[in-house]
């Protein structure tokens, strides 16, 4: 369905080029679901935009290829690409508040989208009403403006808009951020239903590994624009092989282990304009050895379809044990 092969993305900033994503390879099968997790600024959103071929002008794909259903998006002419968007792949962005056009009613936005792909207004209205029912919204809301809706309603309207042409791929970039817990739950349930009932392939981006664990069969952990670890979700989160995943896991409350205290990984992600020489996580890693600071570990595929980029992946068992101590994470700083 969607395949990212060795994708690197460079931003042209005033101070010089910045490598936002380097050498990321991801595969999302038809009807599959893949979660991308990481701290903010790790390149998740950039990757999501790259998957949709929507990178801003100052960013460019410096290597690799993004393929949708086997077609290399970079080689497609803009007109073809445009027709592909929303019909084959749709996008639910971070904040529906900002992503909906503020000066148009929802109906207008459905119609404009429909018109861009040759669908008539009447048909668009009909489809919009149906989709609104699907996302449990009153079709009367169609004539409202975005600012008149609550955050949850907006996000559901956004999802309904994404389903306009029944795409086979949905890219959702932190769709639940900024919503209260109950609404978050509704949105997640909705997405899960869509996935299971409509067979939609889902690329789900979040910093919340709990949500990812619930929605996605597979997950990739990103740090500083690189994949640290990937694999089946339950496996990755139950037995993390990368120290970063371990830290990340400890950073969220776990319903299964409510007694665990929450830690924060000390320090900040590296500046991408001047990345560290070795493993990007080394400066914050409580287990870092001199080797880590000098040599970049490569992403090594494991036997169970998992991959990890750590020099000490072999010692994962021992590291997991040590990682249980909350003091360890604070001390690393």
């Amino acid at each position: 369905m969607l395949a990212l092969d060795d994708v690197s993305i460079i931003y042209a900033a005033r101070s010089g080029p910045v490598q936002a994503v380097s050498g990321v390879t991801l595969h999302l099968p038809v009807g599959g679901s893949l979660g991308l997790v990481g701290e903010s600024g790790c390149g998740k959103s950039t990757l999501a935009l790259a998957a949709l071929s929507l990178l801003p002008p100052e960013a460019r794909l410096s290597s690799g290829a993004v393929r949708l259903e086997g077609q290399d998006l970079a080689t497609l002419p803009e007109a073809k690409l445009r027709r592909l968007r929303w019909t084959r792949m749709a996008y639910v962005p971070q904040s529906a508040q900002n992503a909906l056009v503020p000066v148009h009613s929802l109906r207008r936005q459905f119609r404009d989208t429909a018109a861009a792909h040759g669908m008539r207004s009447a048909a668009a209205d009909e489809r919009a009403a149906a989709l609104f029912q699907r996302v449990e919204l009153d079709p009367a809301i169609l004539d409202r403006f975005p600012h008149e809706l609550s955050g949850g309603m907006r996000q559901r309207a956004m999802i309904a808009l994404a389903l306009l042409f029944g795409p086979s791929l949905l890219v959702a970039d932190e769709p639940t951020t900024g919503l209260d817990v109950i609404v978050q739950r509704q949105v997640i349930d909705l997405l899960r239903d869509l996935r299971t009932e409509d067979g939609l392939a889902l690329l789900f981006i979040s910093h919340d590994i709990g949500v990812v664990a619930e929605l996605c069969s597979h997950v990739a952990v990103l740090y500083a624009g690189k994949v640290m670890e990937s694999g089946a979700t339950d496996r990755v989160f139950s037995l993390p092989n990368h120290p970063y995943t371990m830290g990340l896991q400890r950073a969220f409350p776990d319903i299964r282990h409510p007694e665990r205290s929450i830690v924060s990984i000390a320090g900040h992600p590296p500046r991408l304009s001047a990345p560290p020489q070795g493993c990007p996580f080394a400066p914050r890693c409580p287990f870092a050895q001199p080797l880590c600071h000098n040599t970049v570990p490569s992403l090594v595929a494991g036997p169970d379809g998992r991959a990890v980029a750590c020099h000490f992946a072999a010692d994962a068992e021992a590291l997991r044990d040590r990682a249980r101590d909350p003091a360890l994470w604070d001390a690393a700083a």
Binding site: Y11, A13, R14, S15, V18, A20, V21, S40, G41, G43, K44, S45, T46, L49, P56, E58, A59, G225, P269, R271, L272, S273
Partner: protein, 569 residues
């Protein structure tokens, strides 16, 4: 986007902060200090000094009022330089015309001197205006035009005498003698009489009549339009003027352009011919019975533009109407004429309040025949009939009113019933406020006559166009510098006479108006008006030595810096 914002915020912020520091410094310090310096410099330069000169002290900078017109500015640039030769410096204070009036005429605050130019209105052809109005001691009162406070009893007597002298030859003598006092006492430096320069399209029209003070295109003298003859099938002429009229009510405005334009519709009783002699216009003739009684006779068959015949009734009505309402614009009429009696179908006897030599020219030439049947029905709720809009003026003059579109055009049609029938079918006056556009319209053929004061340089350019003709006409209007006799040092006659000698009128005229004009002989009457000018008077010799000698004789000295010093007490 997400990944971009965290790129190098700290570094960026630091850089920006440093830049801002620098800019802040530049802004705060770099701008304020020089500005403060500049402000104080300007302020210092603008401080004026116009103190009275004390005996034995150097003459202070002399205050000069001038209108902010380009020619006046140039004039004073010249005079400031020339007058340095006798060790005086000037402090120029330019203002607009109305600050001049309110400050100098109404409030009587003339600094040491002030310069003005006086237009060549037809009533000023009579010498009474430039003698009595400007220099009679009676006119030193508030609002009078003798704002330099010249007082000379001998002159006053002569001015009064010429005013009531009905015998032209005797009057000529009196007028000429009065001028010698002005020249001797020098209350004013009369500079020159700038020519009126008009231009027209000679392929389209002929028969232009240059008249002293009027040129070929001004409406001041209605005679100037009478002989204009079309050479092409188009029988109406289009002329451009800087001004537009303000009102169609002839009782309202004293402004010369407006009042004379309306008098094309409303025929005055008399007018002036090419030689500036008075001739009958609406009248058949007049007869001076005695110095305070004048019989006037209307032309037979005179018709108003609405077809109603004009009779002695209308003449009497006109004078009664003016006397009753005392229209400020027509003050010279109600101040002169006491009553009007009908003595025949077309004859009226006017009783004057006093003998008046300029009566036939300036009263009969200014009063116009108003139709009784219209003006007696003016709504009575108005404060004065002068406020009536009079949207369709009906007179008996050579031109009928057709249409007035404010700031766009004023259109007339010829009146075939007038005793002197215009050769044109009509006339259109286009107000064009810019000389550049007026010249352009004439050159492009959008207008046929340029009826405004052209400049000789432009005139030379226009006359190179084979279709166009430029006509120069002398005028009695004048440029003068009025001296304040109420303060030192301009109250010193020798000082004033010295100024006459260091003022090179010819050179000034050459520089400012390309020499197009008549240099003044020092008297307020132009030499071109040979009836009234005094041939014995000649322009003061231009000589710095002579000026210095005059000053030295009067006790003036010069300090080591070359500055003029007042005589010891």
């Amino acid at each position: 986007m997400g990944s971009n914002s965290d790129v190098s915020p700290a570094e960026g912020r630091r850089l920006r902060a440093r830049r801002r520091e620098v800019l802040r410094f530049l802004g705060g310090f770099g701008l304020t200090v020089p500005t403060a310096a500049l402000v104080s410099a300007i302020d210092g330069a603008l401080k004026s000094a116009s103190a009275q000169a004390a005996a034995g002290q150097p003459v202070p900078r002399l205050g000069v009022y001038l209108p902010n017109w380009p020619d006046q500015v140039e004039l004073w640039r010249q005079l400031s330089r020339e007058w340095q030769a006798i060790g005086i410096e000037l402090d120029l204070q330019q203002g607009t015309l109305d600050t001049f009036v309110s400050q100098i005429v109404a409030e009587q605050k003339l600094p040491h001197m002030g310069s003005m130019s006086w237009g060549g209105a037809p009533d000023r052809l009579d010498p009474d205006y430039f003698l009595s109005e400007m220099f009679h001691s009676r006119r030193t009162a508030r609002g009078g035009l003798n704002f330099g406070f010249y007082r000379n009893e001998a002159f006053d007597k002569l001015a009064d005498a010429q005013r009531s002298e009905m015998d032209p030859a005797k009057r000529q003598q009196l007028v000429r003698e009065a001028q010698t006092h002005i020249v001797e006492d020098s209350p004013s430096i009369v500079l020159f009489h700038r020519d009126i320069i008009h231009a027209y399209n000679k392929r389209r029209f002929s028969g232009m009549k240059p008249i002293l003070g009027n040129g070929i295109g001004f409406p001041y003298m209605p005679l100037s339009y009478m002989d204009i003859t079309p050479l092409t099938p188009r029988k109406f002429i289009r002329l451009t003027s800087i001004y537009d009229i303000a009102s169609l009510n002839p009782f309202l405005t004293p402004e010369i352009y407006n009042s004379t334009t309306l008098r094309l519709i409303y025929a005055t009783f008399t007018t002036r011919d090419e030689k500036a002699d008075v001739m009958p216009w609406a009248l058949e003739r007049w007869n001076i019975v005695n110095p305070t009684t004048v019989d006037i006779t209307l032309r037979g068959n005179t018709k108003f533009h609405d077809g109603r015949p004009a009779t002695a009734e209308d003449v009497k009505f006109t004078f009664d109407f003016i006397n009753r309402h005392r229209f400020p614009a027509l003050s010279r009429i109600y101040e002169t004429v006491e009553s009007a009696e009908i003595t025949g179908d077309l004859t009226v006897r006017l009783k004057l309040r006093m003998p008046s030599a300029p009566f036939t020219a300036n009263v009969l030439g200014y009063a116009f025949l108003a139709p009784k049947h219209i003006w007696e029905r003016v709504p009575s709720n108005l404060a004065t009939p002068a406020d009536w809009p009079n949207d369709k003026p009906v007179g008996s003059g050579p031109w009928k009113f057709v249409e007035w579109r404010k700031a766009e055009y004023l259109q007339f049609a010829a009146n075939p019933d007038f005793f002197m029938k215009p050769k044109l079918d009509g006339m259109v006056v286009l107000p064009v406020p810019q000389m550049e556009s007026m010249v352009g319209m004439l050159e492009r053929g959008d207008s046929d006559m340029l009826a405004w004061n052209l400049d000789m340089t432009l005139g030379a350019r226009i006359s190179r166009n084979p279709e166009l003709e430029v006509v120069r006409t002398p005028t009695h209007g004048q440029h003068e510098v009025r001296l304040n006799l109420g303060m030192a040092p301009t109250n010193n006659k020798a000082f004033r006479r010295a100024l006459q000698h260091v003022t090179d009128r010819k050179k000034l005229l050459d520089i400012i108006f390309s020499g197009a004009g008549v240099v003044s002989n020092g008297a307020p009457i132009t030499p071109a008006l040979d009836n009234w000018a005094n041939p014995a008077i000649s322009a003061p010799e231009v000589s710095v030595d002579r000026a210095r000698a005059v000053l030295r004789d009067a006790g003036f000295t010069w300090n080591p810096q070359g500055r003029l010093v007042m005589p010891a007490a």
